[in-house]
Amino acid sequence: MTKHLIGLGVLLAVGMAYPAIFPNNLTVAISVLLFAGWATSWDLLGGWNGQVSLGHASFVGLGAYFVFIGQSQFGLAPWWTMAMAAAVAAVLAYFWGWLTFSLRGPYFSLSTIAVAEILRLVAINEEWLTGGATGVFIATLPEPFGVDLFSRTAQFYMALAFAAVVIATVIVISRARFGYQLRAVREDEDSAMAAGIDPTATKLKAFMLSAALTSIGGGIYGIVLAFIEPHVIFALLLSVQIALTAIIGGRGTIWGPAVGAIVLIGAGEMFRTTFAEANMLIYGVLILVVVLFVPRGIVGELARRHIRRLYAKRAQG
């Protein structure tokens, strides 16, 4: 655990220097960091706990809309609204999980799509609150300590802090009692129950934490976009993108989702001109490759090979 935390510290230090070295490539870096954070949050539930959600865009949208509505209608600063969004996301996740986690099988994955769709319809139709289908602009933001939140550099640091906090959370959980409970429930609910773990409570906690973290990233995303449309922010494709980033990188590993974010956003940038709008084609091809040939994902497969090498060495004496 200390090893991973030190690694995260080193990466954080390198990340702090990034805007000074590449001042012109900040937008791509921000998307990598946001997706790394979202995919890692998704992985808490989807990887460590085995409950595949295809509705995480709901929480992204919730965070973004809280920041917008708080700022434009009540003059609330983004950090307060992000905290509120996290609390509301956790409550939403609680009721949603309470509704579906007592059922096994595909029901949870199916319901996640439906809830995200309902939120999207609400955002489109309740114009008095959300500005409707055309979307809303954010015109003013407070300037804490004279920092302009509209500048890409400030947004980069927010995204960096978000990704670092989420990854640190997962590092701590991976060695905590809760982390072992998550994995026990994923592997076999009946055995977990026999060992005194309540599977539904464990899943609920994982979902609430995952939802709260995702919505904070959503708030930052809203500030980065400065213009949000319901059919973009609540899109099924965004949910799918978040899930696939974690799965391709390696489910249930600490660094897998972050690696997935670098690989997928990088590939997306490389083929941007070739495929234009059809960019998700890459996600489709890569997920098939992963499912058929590398079921553990990139980091999962590397870790497995590393462990096998260690055993081979020990066996040789």
Partner: protein
């Protein structure tokens, strides 16, 4: 009297639209029942059907119903190929592997259509698109009626296939118990291919019958249909063909009634809310056998 007329009108529209939803749902539920896989690409196969009708119309000037003759067999073989080369490899992997594979197929189909046809909505103009006729004061759209007739024919054909033929018996056997089916000499890999082919064929057929009514767009429509198919199958009960028919009609009626008596802008949401309520109170579906709650 006028109110009763409007009510009957709504019921008629709901039932006819529901017939097409049932057609989409049957494909999904058939595949789930036999292969225990939720096919996330199902809606994209519906869209593929819509675009096949657009293509045949542009190249050969065919009416959508004529193009069914070609589109359905092509859909069947496309399904068999996808099953052979992709899904058969993950049949013994953890269940979400197959789900993720179909998600990948869905993204590939949607984006391949986007690259080929571009993003603007497409449709096929037919002469009977807006013609209606009335039965006992209820106006029925010609397009919807044709779709309804096609649905009834297809469901009847499927019923005969599943209940009166040797392949159908093998399909039902595989659905009930794969290992047991193999022990009595059924080639379950072949059955899986046939079932997935049938599922895709039904999706393509639904797409073709819908094209005079709806515009096709490459990526979003697929997800919408997949979601509708889920709602239909969960309303009825996953893996149950008869229940999918009832679920489809129920969804059509709920949507139309909700849109005309409450807020029309939430038309899509009524089905989803019904779906969540069913998950809450009767997860086995309205007509399914009881699922054990943990």
């Amino acid at each position: 009297m006028a109110e009763l007329d409007i009510f009957l009108q709504n019921i008629a529209n709901g039932v006819l639209i529901g017939g097409v939803y049932a057609l989409i749902g049957i494909g999904l539920t058939l595949v789930f029942g036999v292969m225990r896989t939720i096919n996330f690409a199902h809606g994209d196969f519906v869209v593929l059907g819509m675009y096949s009708a657009v293509l045949f119309n542009a190249l050969l000037g065919w009416d959508p119903y004529l193009s069914l003759l070609l589109a359905m067999p092509i859909g069947f073989f496309a399904g068999v190929i996808v099953e052979r080369f992709i899904l058969s490899r993950v049949v013994d992997a953890p269940p979400e592997s197959a789900l993720l594979a179909t998600l990948g197929i869905s993204l590939i189909i949607g984006n391949a259509i986007l690259l080929t046809f571009g993003g603007e909505p497409r449709s096929v103009q037919v002469s009977y698109a807006s013609s209606t006729f009335s039965i006992a004061g209820v106006n029925v759209s010609m397009v919807l009626l044709l779709a309804g007739i096609a649905t009834v024919i297809m469901i009847a054909a499927l019923y005969v296939l599943l209940n009166r033929t040797e392949v159908g018996r093998a399909i039902r056997g595989t659905a009930e118990n794969r290992l047991g089916a193999e022990l009595v000499g059924i080639d379950t890999r072949r059955i899986h291919s046939i079932v997935f082919g049938l599922g895709v064929m039904l999706a393509v057929m639904a797409g073709v019958t819908l094209i005079p009514l709806l515009f096709a767009t490459p990526t979003n429509t697929g997800a919408v249909f997949t979601l509708k198919a889920f709602v239909v199958t969960v309303l009825g009960g996953l893996g149950n063909v008869g229940a999918a028919i009832a679920g489809g009609i129920l969804l059509g009626v709920v949507e139309v009634l909700g849109a005309s008596y409450f807020m029309s802008e939430y038309r899509e949401a009524y089905g989803l809310i019904a779906f969540l309520l069913i998950l809450l109170f009767r997860p086995e579906g309205l007509f399914g056998r009881t699922v054990k709650r943990v």
